[in-house]
Symmetry: C2
Subunit: 685 residues, 2 copies
């Protein structure tokens, strides 16, 4: 990738834009139209300047306009904006086709086959500032970012907001959750016309009138504020950066690059999931040897707390006692579940910690929690503990303890730590060295940096991080593979509470929205289907099992209690069997918010696992078993809804387990109950 001298000019202009080899176009006088296509030619991105000399980009798919001319640019809090009076001074093209390996993931091998176009924008007015826009175009979507190169008149950027637009060329349906509301990211998904979206968080997924699916998001969000999508009118969205406590939403010294703004584009919902654009736009692993990161399931001293039967605070109902935890260790060990999460184990929970975690001490266990003894006991049972650092949103207080928190975790063989930032949006406590107090947003630049500080500090101690109340996932697991999972949405915990139970469609929304960004710690497997005070969870037993395949995470909880699992020995077999790390993944069918069926092959066997889930509607899905190895016989161990199963009635508890012999080329019929699902292990013979 090189920038041509201006002299090259028109000579290389004609014709060559889509050639196989790297080509260079540069025009000194008349601004060129800059166009790049995807490797298969289906997607084309064009950058121009409009009548007001404002740069705009547009995208076509198979020749049809998908993204109408959309602005590029920035406003700053202390300098003129970069948007008008812009000239395209050079356009360079590049391409690459490579394959890389995930240390853990849904796929072992990831292909990155893309074309790239760098468009250099320069102001014609006094400052002559330069910003490059770089487009990365795959067959499955487009990413672009701004790159601010080193230059004489532009040393520091105080960004008030981005002017970046996404002008969808036609209306359709959008699945989205609102931005800037008090409860951070824990909202159910709205399904509305695109033209009725308010201000949305990303991932926002849309299905245009012509059936094309687009997932709007960002990749590689570091040292920048998270992007939301504000709809002005019609179907045009504008980047709306998350605020911080400071005047600019982003403050950076040049040179720097923004995160990638991404649009995954496909014919259908499964196609969105099968794209690797998000990961490809993140940088390779920066942690070196990461063999110490171990995907796996875990149980935990948690569901009884979230249900209100045990407490995080010390006292007669304290959950994290040495005796309780030993029972969970025994249970995990007996069922080959490697991890045991313990919450409420440390000093700081006694009092009002919501939004105020300044009493939390992440290396001081409560007196009834014998950390050394439990570490020893767990190790003897082949199990490790998962630590828990709940900050109550007091991020600076946590920053001050990071090293000793993770030293404590490492000293006690905790391979994963779950973090928490339970406070309302905009209420993160930041205290600077000078004692000044600030209130930050979970997804603002300061917190984006905080989360990564936690992850990289943890890596020094060989600890993996499962962030709750996190910044959204933008594929950074590629670069920092110890960032194994996040919450960042409505998990199963809502099903513990009397009010606000997740509706059956929720997980079929998650797969095609939030989880396009990365793994979610949803905590499936509540086979009792019962929250506090006996309240009914709107699911079926078979669906709880299917979630282990449908909702990908390298660390997955078996969220119910040992006592409850004892009541379902046959169903629990699937939870014991299902792995959390995959060689290959295929999304066999699906519609956003309606249903999805995913098949995955473990890294360690020739088996396949299948999970199929539906919304409030029962449905029958026919699945060709094309993913199986040719010539091999499999025993399908099927965990399915029974004929009378229905999430709305006591029949939700009904399920059936059966086996069937199948081969590649067979077709399987999945009968899903209303609110139900089906889980299958294809055991290779």
């Amino acid at each position: 990738m090189k920038l041509a001298p201006l002299a090259l000019a028109a000579a290389t202009l004609a014709g060559g834009a889509h050639a196989q080899n790297e080509i260079i176009k540069t025009v000194a006088t008349q601004a060129p139209d800059a166009t790049e296509t995807s490797p298969d030619g289906s997607l084309a991105v064009t950058v121009k300047t409009d009548d007001n000399a404002r740069p705009v980009y547009s995208i076509t798919r198979r020749g049809k306009l998908l993204v109408a001319p959309s602005r590029l640019g920035f406003i700053f809090t202390d300098a003129p904006k970069f948007e008008r009076n812009i000239q395209i001074v050079s356009v360079t093209h590049d391409k690459a086709d490579s394959t890389w390996t995930q240390p853990w993931g849904e796929w072992r091998q990831i292909r990155d086959n893309h074309r790239e176009m760098r468009v250099r924008l320069r102001e014609t007015t006094a400052l002559h500032r330069i910003v490059d826009v770089v487009f990365h175009v795959e067959d499955s979507g487009v990413g672009f970012r701004y790159e601010f190169p080193e230059q004489p008149n532009f040393k520091h950027a105080n960004i008030g907001d981005e002017m970046t637009q996404f002008a969808l060329a036609e209306d359709g349906t959008a699945w989205w959750k609102p931005a800037f509301e008090w409860n951070r990211e824990e909202y159910l998904y709205e399904k509305t016309p695109i033209s009725a979206v308010g201000t949305a968080q990303t991932v926002m997924t849309v299905k245009l009138a012509d059936g094309t699916h687009v997932a709007l998001h960002e990749a590689a969000l570091t040292d920048y504020s998270a992007m939301n999508l504000a709809r002005a009118a019609g179907t045009t969205f504008r980047a709306a950066l998350t605020p911080g406590s400071g005047a600019p939403k982003v403050t950076r010294d040049l040179p720097f690059n923004t995160p990638w703004r991404t649009m995954v584009i496909a014919d259908d919902a499964p196609g969105l999931y099968m794209s690797h654009l998000e990961l490809n736009l993140n940088e390779p692993n920066k942690l070196g040897d990461v063999s110490w990161i171990k995907p796996g399931k875990f149980v935990g001293v948690w569901w009884n707390m979230i249900k209100g039967e045990w407490t995080w605070a010390t006292g007669p109902k304290h959950g994290a006692t040495t005796a309780n935890v030993k029972k969970y260790i025994d249970f995990a060990s007996a069922n080959k579940i490697p991890g045991v999460l313990v919450e409420g184990w440390n000093v700081g929970w006694d009092g009002d910690w919501f939004g105020n975690g300044n009493a939390m001490q992440f290396d001081q266990p409560t007196p009834d929690f014998d950390a050394n003894e439990l570490a020893r006991y767990a190790k003897g049972k082949g199990v490790y503990l998962i630590g828990h650092n709940e900050t109550g949103g007091s991020a600076s207080h946590y920053d001050q303890q990071l090293d000793r928190a993770f030293k404590f975790a490492a000293d006690h063989d905790e391979k994963v730590v779950k973090t928490g930032y339970v406070t309302d949006a905009g209420q993160i406590e930041r205290v600077d060295a000078d004692g000044s107090q600030h209130r930050e947003w979970h997804e603002g630049q300061w917190m984006v940096n905080h989360y990564l500080r936690v992850v990289t500090t943890a890596a020094k101690y060989k600890v993996a991080i499962d962030s709750h109340e996190p910044v959204k996932d933008t594929g950074l697991r590629r670069t920092y593979p110890n960032w194994v999972a996040r919450e960042g949405g409505r998990g199963q915990e809502y099903n513990a509470w009397i009010g606000g139970k997740n509706p059956p469609e929720h997980e079929a929304n998650l797969v095609f929205t939030q989880m396009l960004g990365g793994p979610m710690d949803f905590t499936p497997g509540v086979l009792s289907l019962t929250g506090s005070e006996g309240s009914a969870i709107q699911s079926t037993v078979a669906k709880q099992l299917a979630l282990y395949v449908a909702l990908y995470s390298p660390v997955v909880m078996a969220a119910d209690t040992p006592e409850n699992y004892a009541k379902f020995p046959d169903a629990f077999t699937f939870i014991r069997d299902v792995p959390t790390d995959w060689e290959d993944t295929r999304v066999l069918n699906g519609e956003v918010g309606d249903f999805v069926t995913i098949a995955r092959r473990p890294r360690t066997s020739r088996d396949w696992f299948l999970g199929s889930i539906t919304d409030e509607n029962g449905r029958t899905l026919t699945v060709p078993l094309d993913f199986l190895d040719a010539g091999r016989t499999y025993t399908a161990e099927i965990y399915r809804d029974a004929p009378n199963t229905d999430f709305k009635t006591e029949g939700r508890h009904a399920y059936a387990v059966e086996t069937k012999r199948v081969r590649k080329g067979d077709t399987m019929t999945l009968v899903l109950a209303p609110g139900g699902g089906q889980a299958v292990r294809f055991r290779a013979r």
Copy 2:
């Protein structure tokens, strides 16, 4: 209005909430429901705390829920938010019924008949901060504001945003324009379901499914940032304050009050216009004697510029030459039009002034503009000049010149100065005393203060202000009567340009949206119906006349050129006759964005004037002449569309003038052409 000691408690709780006399309720333990009703009992506002001890208010109309429980509160950039753990510690009620006089306006007398409720909110947590919410309830709507009293633990508020919600209880239609877009306020109105609004500026007008009309806005916006309405999901809006260059959107020392958040509520669109809530919520005149403020029409050296035939810059096509201006003075004098606006008269226009007005000198005329001679000449003709200060958005540069700018205006007998801030949103140049550079928004706190600084400085010199690219109008003309008009929307100037002509519905939108906030300098009266290069304006001649009544402003331009007016002597008679100051106003009919008919009585005669305008649809309206004096005969001088008039064809130029004798009790039939209108003078005999 008093606050009771806490001891009074439950004794006064029962029953008295709606009594005629002032009553006081205070509850120390159980938070009371606080309710206030409008004088006629149709509207009721209730404040409670919800399960999370968050304060919410709701509004019913005739017993039906209109605004569902909606949050109240604030987030701060440097302190915990004020929203949870809130207790209602006292509720006081008050009422008043008075009438006050406008020095100029749509009505001379304004009745303010309201009930008031003050709800004191106090935190139960450490800081024990106190905020009062004060509701002002009229029959035509509700206003409320937050009052931050003096208190020990709360000396300064750095407001990140308001949590104030407006949860409309049902869907319907909304008329709105987008907030935070590049072009400030100059957008056409969107008409969408309420549930499809993005982020809207106020005034936003909605018509609920049951027909109820609500206009959401604010009143008395001073030393605070303007409020926009962000829709999260459904029909719930949240206050979204305009940003500034600083970290907080608003920064204030306690004690202070916010602007009033207003909801004008009516059965129909005319009912919205007839409300005086907006003005009643502003403070009385602070300027003392304002008899020097003279409402009136004006012509100007302008239309030929905006059309591109003359220039603001000096040179061969310079508009503001002594000779040209004398012609306009002659024309104004001959037609009893008191004002002559001149743009481009001062040093600073030669160069790129858009977004950069640092060359502007507001007391230095160009060499071809003899200011002293013109002032003398105008005075001799009974005419005054209207000054023009275009800042190009360089507000600090203007601040430095304010005194000499208005001294120059006063020295040259300019009774009005039109100001301008032509730059993109977020691009106002602010330079502090220390030389630091900032970029501000037109409607942020700093600019809100700037505009008022301009107005109060102008008042010292007895100069009135007509702000272009202003902050929106929130009724401050009551407090500062020299703030006579603003632009703040798409005016007729868009009709000068080839692209972007206003559609016929535009003015019927303006009346029931922006102009509920106050007078707009729309510049009607382009009888030639022709913009640059002969481009057609989407109007009829009769509609251009009708706009003088339909669109209220105390200063109104006759925007076309003297040469063009010479071609329409009969139609021009109406422009010569129509006054700009009114004793009484009646909105006879109307639907937002479709049509409106308004009758107004001048302050100086027994005449009435009527203006009726329609959108792209022709329509026949029947108007009972109930507003005329009983027993008096009137000659109706009618300026109407002809049978073949149509804005879409050359027929748009066709009109008819006729007279008719009418009396109170008669009915008049108005036949409006597509895109047309009708103007009537009822001359009292």
